[in-house]
Symmetry: none
Subunit: 212 residues, 4 copies
Amino acid sequence: MSSADTSQAGGDRRKRSDARRNAQTLLDAAAAVFARAGVDAPVRDIAAEAGVGMGTVYRHFPTRPDLVVAVFRHQVDALAATPTGASGEDAETPYDVLRSWVARFTDFLVTKHGLAEALHSDQAGFESLHAEFVDRLVPVLGQLLQASVDAGQIRADVRPLDLMIAIGNLCIGAGTFPGYRARHMVDVLLAGLAHGAPASTDGDEPRARTGS
Amino acid sequence: MSSADTSQAGGDRRKRSDARRNAQTLLDAAAAVFARAGVDAPVRDIAAEAGVGMGTVYRHFPTRPDLVVAVFRHQVDALAATPTGASGEDAETPYDVLRSWVARFTDFLVTKHGLAEALHSDQAGFESLHAEFVDRLVPVLGQLLQASVDAGQIRADVRPLDLMIAIGNLCIGAGTFPGYRARHMVDVLLAGLAHGAPASTDGDEPRARTGS
Amino acid sequence: MSSADTSQAGGDRRKRSDARRNAQTLLDAAAAVFARAGVDAPVRDIAAEAGVGMGTVYRHFPTRPDLVVAVFRHQVDALAATPTGASGEDAETPYDVLRSWVARFTDFLVTKHGLAEALHSDQAGFESLHAEFVDRLVPVLGQLLQASVDAGQIRADVRPLDLMIAIGNLCIGAGTFPGYRARHMVDVLLAGLAHGAPASTDGDEPRARTGS
Amino acid sequence: MSSADTSQAGGDRRKRSDARRNAQTLLDAAAAVFARAGVDAPVRDIAAEAGVGMGTVYRHFPTRPDLVVAVFRHQVDALAATPTGASGEDAETPYDVLRSWVARFTDFLVTKHGLAEALHSDQAGFESLHAEFVDRLVPVLGQLLQASVDAGQIRADVRPLDLMIAIGNLCIGAGTFPGYRARHMVDVLLAGLAHGAPASTDGDEPRARTGS
DNA sequence: TATGAATGAGGTTTCATTCAT
DNA sequence: TATGAATGAAACCTCATTCAT
């Protein structure tokens, strides 16, 4: 059947969409397996999860880093795509927006078990994964931070990269350690950000401060 | 027969010191290699680092978990040994003591690259490593936290285990990511702890407030 | 989707014959190596003998016992498949049939050097090899023995298991010890069986001849 | 103490006796371990069994074959030392003497589990063990056989080497296979020997033949 | 001389990756 | 194009053997 398709001009296009669907299937499968067994999981497992042969994995992602980066780029895209002040609610303070974005970032990391851990793999090719995160998300986070700083709602001595890594780190083990409450600790961290905010002169509620 | 006796008992005593030195060399080497290449580093590398044969590693630490646990127990011992309020300086508030202990914990983790990461290995046998940390350090941290809570210096909704894991996590990548300032983020986290202390109504210095 | 279906099912069928041939090659190679170097021969040697990589051995036979059992099961099948009184010559006495089967069993063991030895390996997994022989061949031998006993041609105090092991044992070293004539000794053993046959009075006393 | 001894002439002799006792201890230990775990048993186990260091094993038996041969030579000595017609009871026929010697041989092999198996090891150095058995025992067995043949009590077509190996083989697994009765099968083999004795002219009871 | 710690070769097994089908 | 069998490098671990004490 495949050969018949190939003989036609249109077959090519039909194949393409098939292949694309297949790539997506692979990304999902890889994400699932990475979450379950870490980024070093046997390729065979990923192929099995996707219900394809190992050769297919290699066809779509020639090297393992290619696959890994693809898996996470896919997910980073979703986060970076988010317009900074997305919701557009003007009642929100910059700090609120920051908190909201961080919450979504945290949810993301906590949900995709293994993702946070993966960011620290020193396997070959993971620099690119890293670059991905840094290049895409740090700017977003940078804007959010700056806005809050400008509003006098948070301290100014925390750099976007620091915060991004810190949040990522706090999410490690969220699904592994029974008692560990990653989200709660991220909250505490954000509270620490707010605390010591230059302008919290007259009151201590660091996260409130509506009037800029 | 007398000669036999001598050799049996004497041999025991004669060799011990050498063997012990060797075990220590191995622990150091393993710590270094774990830091450099993670806890899954080839045993061969550890042996090479220590300048001994692989067999020697196995003689001293029959299974890999044995070695790993030994490496970290050694280091945990040092931390747990610290008397809670050790320094005895009565000018310090509970929060000061907490900060000081956390700083030392942080220094420790940051210094021993790889240690923090190791705490998250899901390799067989690492449960014991975990238990080690939890069993030994969580109680210490628990006391420090409670004292600060009792002094009204920090919020009461953070559990010792949460904090320990969070600190450990924040230290991950300290030596790997060029720009990441782990110690700084731990500071922020502690600030977040202090912030929201029940009733720091009239001033923001979180560590003062004696009266509740 | 249709293409996916095809690849899934069709791939299965296309490769089978190759894989099967390979498995057979492995069995032969393993038999040869076991014969030459015993059942503990390095897997590497077996792979080399078969002209395949080591991984291939493990693909087909995940554990060593799997391979060993397969090698010998293959051979046992041939023996057990033999209909007891197969040849169907009705001129044969039960003892003749017994002798004939034993001769074939002996030939088999003697030919496949190392097989007899293998039956005594105490390596893990060889219980199954054992069971294989016992379960498959002892019943056959039991029938042959009983028939001869019933015909009064052999003594009744030898159990099938005894005989099977004894024959197997006598074949050990057949290919190793220059001067040892295993077949001859099996003959002597069978003569011993016949000897002392109660009272094959009227006929074909194989070699008993009670009344001189 | 040892150095003091060495300085004297007599010390040498005292040492010698110690060493000899030690060697004997080693032989016993090795025999026990070989029986328990086969001739490939770890040297360490033998040293442990003997209660000495591994170095001591190597001092007395520089190579493994040296030890193995020594262990069994020791035991072969006992068998070969037996005067052929030892007991000198004149009521016994040559066949009786043969049977009696074989029984002792069998007992020996059956008792020392692993010995029979060891004779078939193809490990380096075991040729010597073999030579040992062949050189020492085959002549003895040859005499016994010849006497029985001369007396017309057994067939003449079984060579001493054949018989020795056959008996040895029949003893394999005596301690391993639950149901296997090695002694019984040796009996059957001997019966086979007697049966068909060419010269059993006037009586067929092969073991009777009183008048030599 | 006896000890047992150290060595390191060698066997086992697992996967990443290639490639015939 | 997809498959999964085959490959072989690399890690593990176990002793036989050496040698400092």
